[in-house]
Symmetry: C2
Subunit: 321 residues, 2 copies
């Protein structure tokens, strides 16, 4: 289903009579209107906010594109499960339920500089894991990822969808130096050359260059659309994971906002290509859903203003002369 235009209009009508100068809550007003449109509800609510983090491992780490070993993905999943990571604290602080979904961590994708990262079957299975992780009735879904090497996958996806050179999309990731970033860009360029014309199909981009966790995010974004659930995307990897939808349909990501513009260089470009509003810009570059979950606090405040404020008439406040 599409956006509920009437619900969005009802929000804007109410915003105009609340005790504040018209438009003075800026992006908060936009966020409420967006939430109403996709929840299909005049008075949006945030009773059930879910943060779901998908984790996967990447064969392209064989090319030496990360200073961390792939074993860290599984270690961090254990940290998520034990409640010790940043995302656990941020989700809890913002009243969001947290879950992590590891996807066959002991079986990394194939090295995409050599062959497609996933077979068609592997790709469909990862998509389905993401699709099934979304619970109908959720009021707001925050998506995140963990996967050593996945900023290289995200750079490859972005370059394939929106054009190169890879250097525009390759950044420092978890902590590469300048030489490391150049090497990463060269690895991406090699992959783009290898897969060639096949990358004209956005699904093939996701299958050949992505990981199981990015495919799962794509599946979750589709499920959210199906169930009328607004989505907060996280940073570079999460946005790149969802990006094929914006190529398949011009309004394919209209039910998504971006929680935070990452310090990872490529994300700023990607946000522009996706034409979706971003809420925060705090120089973070952590992933794991942290930027999406942090932005929940902004959306909560926006809804609190919309539902809790008095109107000019109720408060006896004079509107403009």
């Amino acid at each position: 289903p599409g956006a509920d235009v009437a619900a969005a209009a009802a929000v804007m009508q109410r915003q105009a009579i609340l005790t504040k100068p018209p438009g003075s809550l800026g992006v908060l007003e936009e966020a409420v209107s967006w939430l109403a449109a996709w929840q299909r509800r005049d008075m949006p609510r945030l009773d059930q906010v879910d943060v779901v983090v998908f984790a996967g491992n990447h064969g392209v780490t064989a090319q030496g594109i990360s200073p961390y070993p792939s074993s860290v993905t599984e270690q961090m999943v254990a940290n998520f499960e034990a409640g010790g990571a940043a995302i656990n604290q941020i989700a809890k602080a913002n009243g969001a339920a947290f879950s992590v979904v590891p996807l066959m961590l002991d079986r990394p994708t194939a090295d995409f500089t050599v062959e497609p990262a996933m077979t068609p079957l592997e790709f469909r299975r990862a998509l389905a894991v993401g699709y099934d992780a979304v619970v109908p009735g959720t009021d707001l879904l925050c998506l995140g990822e963990m996967g050593i090497g996945n900023t290289t996958a995200a750079a490859a996806i972005s370059a394939a969808l929106f054009g190169g050179p890879a250097a525009r999309w390759a950044g420092r990731g978890t902590g590469l130096d300048a030489d490391g970033v150049s090497h990463k860009a060269a690895v991406v360029d090699r992959a783009l050359a290898l897969h060639g014309e096949a990358l004209n199909d956005p699904w093939e981009v996701a299958r050949r260059l992505g990981g199981r966790e990015t495919a799962a995010i794509l599946g979750a974004v589709l499920a959210a659309r199906r169930h009328s659930i607004p989505v907060l995307l996280d940073g570079f990897v999460c946005s790149a994971a969802a990006a094929p939808l914006s190529k398949l349909l011009p309004d394919g990501l209209d039910h998504c906002m971006i929680g935070h513009v990452s310090a990872e260089a490529g994300h700023r470009h990607l946000v522009q290509e996706l034409h979706r509003p971003a809420l925060l810009n705090l120089d973070m570059r952590l992933g794991e859903g942290s930027g999406a979950a942090l932005a929940v606090s902004i959306v909560r405040a926006a809804v609190a203003c919309h539902t809790g404020m008095a109107t000019f008439t109720q408060a006896g406040v004079t509107n403009r002369d």
Copy 2:
């Protein structure tokens, strides 16, 4: 007292061993370090967060610089007290205590295009009201204001402290059109010409061009410094109110961060002049402490990460190769 450099260093040491790439929480790490420095405490806390809004009326409204009548100030104070304004909802959503302090609303300041806005005695009294509104032991203080006409006062203060022309600082306020903005700038230019050399003294800038509520904010910022309380400033008017301190002492506002960069044109310039970090940028232009109180959620998440995250050793996560 100054910043506790040891507490800030302790924060940075702990941040380096938490389960995340170094620096990947960006401004959140900076915020915790700042909080520790000014709370003088290695593990900062946010048990008592206060939002205090000061309200005053301005004689310069006689010059037709606002589309709203001065009576709205008192009406909005009643709305604050009844819990119906945006700031009430935002403070509540972020676990902050709210109070409003009206300053002689039935007695506007003098029109500063004709004479100083306040006598020396009036100015000292307003400063003292602000100073006394700060409760020692508060963990974080958010300051805000309400006063029809006070973006004109803020533009005048900013131009006097950091240089003109007034057009650089005069914005749309609660909703002027382009002609209204030009008129507002002309009003400010007249005031600057009238007060002339007297404006070389930052205290005189605050007295001659400010309002009772901006003087109270200045007093509250001073009290917070005295009691080692970190401060979140709000938008254009609140930042302009505090700005004289940055002229009196180069580090005079180091215990302050700016909650939100206002859509009001002058604020972006002012943030640069004050050299203080700003947390949010959401196109808001409401005042009443809304941007400061909204940023509390970011600081809360930052503290939650700092105090709640596992270290690499605790979580058994491999640090860099």
